[in-house]
Amino acid sequence: MSGLQIENRIWDTVETLPRERLRVLQTERLRSCVRQASQIPFYREALSRLGVDADTISGPEDVRRLPITTKEDLRQYYPLDLLAVPREKLVRIHGSSGTTGKPTFVAYTAEDLNLWTELCARFLVAGGLRPKHTVHIAFGYGLFTGGFGLHQGVERVGAAIVPAAAGNTVRQILLLKDLDADVLICTPSYALNIAEVARAEGITPADWSLKYGHFGGEPWTEDMRLRIEQEMGILAFNNYGLSEIIGPGVSGECAARRGMHLAEDHFIVECLNPDTLEPVAEGEQGELVITTLTKQAMPLLRYRTRDIASIDTSPCPCGRTFARMSRVVGRTDDMLIIRGVNVFPSQIEEALLRVDGTAPHYLIEVDRPGTLDRVTVKVELRPQDFSDRMREMQALRARIDREIHAITGIRVNVELVEPNSLERFVGKSRRVIDHRKGT
C-alpha cells in the first residue's frame, strides 16, 4: 500500500464494493429514489412531464433523464415544501444561507440522520480517527451542518469529543493544549488562525499532541495544507459536503490524500459543463450535480451544487472503489465563502434595502490579510442620508452593519463612499472583488 500517509482503515466494507456491483446498487437505489421523490408534488410533476417512471430506469446513467434541481427551487418551496415524508417523521432541521435573507432548510428523518452520521464516521476513520482519540471540534453548532454532522460522526466512531464550537481563539488554544486533543476539526483558515494566535502568545502548536486535522466548509489549497501541517505538526485531511445534500460526508480524503472519495452508494455525482449540462470528460473540471439515492425526508434529484471540481474513477491505493473528487476549485455562481459561511451578494443587497428602502450602489471586497477572511462592503452614501453630525453618520454605518449581520451571519467592514464613485456596469454588474489568493 504505497502512497498512504497513515494506517489504512475502512469503516464500512461497502466502500470497497467492486464498481460493477456498485452500478447494480446505484440502479436499484435510483429507482427507489425516484419513487421517494414522487411523493413531492414538485418532482411528481417534473418526472411526469419528462416521462420518467422508476421502473424504466435501467442503470445509473439514467440519472440524466431526471429533472435538474436548483437552489432557486429550494427557495421557491420555502420553508419545507419539498418534504417526501409527513412532517412528524422529521427529527432534525438544519439550514444554510439562501440567496436572500431567508435560509434554505434541510430536514432529516431518523434514517437520514443515521446515514449522515455514518458518512461522517466514514471519512473521519479514513483520515486517521480511532476510538481512543480526543477530538476538538471548533465548528459552529447550530443551523450550519458542520458542527453537528462531525460531532455525530466522531461520536459514532467512539472517540471523545471536546465540543469547543466556534470563536474565542484564546480559549480554543487552552483546550487544545490542556486536553491533549489528537484531532482538530474546523475550517482550514480557522486552523491557521489558531496557529497564528498561539504563536503570538509564545505557544508552538506543533508541540501539541494533535495528530490529524479534518478541514472543510470552505475551499482551500495544497499550499494551505502544507502550512497547516507545518504549523501544527499534523496530517490535514479535506472533506466536502453541502447542507442541501446532507451536510459534510458527501466525500472525504483517505490516507492516500489524492482526492476525496465520494459516498457513491448514497449519491450519484455527475460532473457537467455548467452551460450545456452535458457531462465533461473524466478528469476534467465541471459543476458537480448530485442526486441523493437514499435520503428520505428531502430527496434531491440532480441538485446543481454550483461547485466546480473534477472526478476520477481510477483505482485508489487505499482499496476503496468509490470515485474521488478533486478539491473544489471555484463556483459557477457569485456565492462567497467567508470564514466558512456561505454569503451571496444578493443577501448584502437585501440588507441595504432594509436600511433605507432603496438599493444603493455597493461593492463587496474580500481579502485575507492574515489567516482570516475580511469583507469590506462599500456603500455609496445618498446625499439625503448625509449629516454633519458624526453620531448620525456612525449610526448609519452601524445600521448597515447590523442588517448585513442579521441576514448573512457575518460581520463586515462598512465603508461609506461618495455617490457615483463606484464603477457602473452595463448588464450584469460586478459587485464582488475577491482578492484572496488561491481559493
Binding site: L381, P383, F386, S387, D388, L416, E418, P419, N420
Partner: protein, 146 residues
Amino acid sequence: MKIQQLSLFLENKPRALRVPTRILAEAGISILTMSLADTEQFGILRLIVPDAQRAKGILEKAGAVVNVTEVVAVEVPDRAGGLDGVLAVIEKESLNVEYVYSFTARKGDRAVLVFRFDDPDKALRLLAAHGVAVVTELDGFLTPGT
C-alpha cells in the same frame, strides 16, 4: 444671528480634502474657517464661507455631498476664563452642543467659536438673555482683497 455652515462628506482616501478646497479656490470662494471630523472610515469637513448657498451649488455640481447647517458663532473674551464663562451659560441652560470649533481670525479683542447646537434658535435666545455676544455678519472676517 445664525450662520450657515457647509458640511462635506469626505472619503478616507488620499487627496480627499484637496478636492473641495480646489473647487472653492477655482470659484474664488474664501474659506473663513474650517474643522475636520474624521474617523477611520470617513470624514466630515465643516466650512464657513461668505456665501454658503452659492458654494453648495458649486460643490454639488462637482459631485460632492454637501449640506448646509445653521450654527452660532459666539464671541468669547480672549482672556483666562473667557470660554469658561460662555460654557457656564450653555450648561446652565442645558443647551446641547453637537460640536464646537474656533475661527482662526479674531474679532477685535475677542476669539470666535462656532457652536453647533441641537436647537440654534433656542440657543441664540438664551445666549442673548445672558448677554453673550454672537457674530451677526461675516464681513468682518474677510480680509481685504477677498
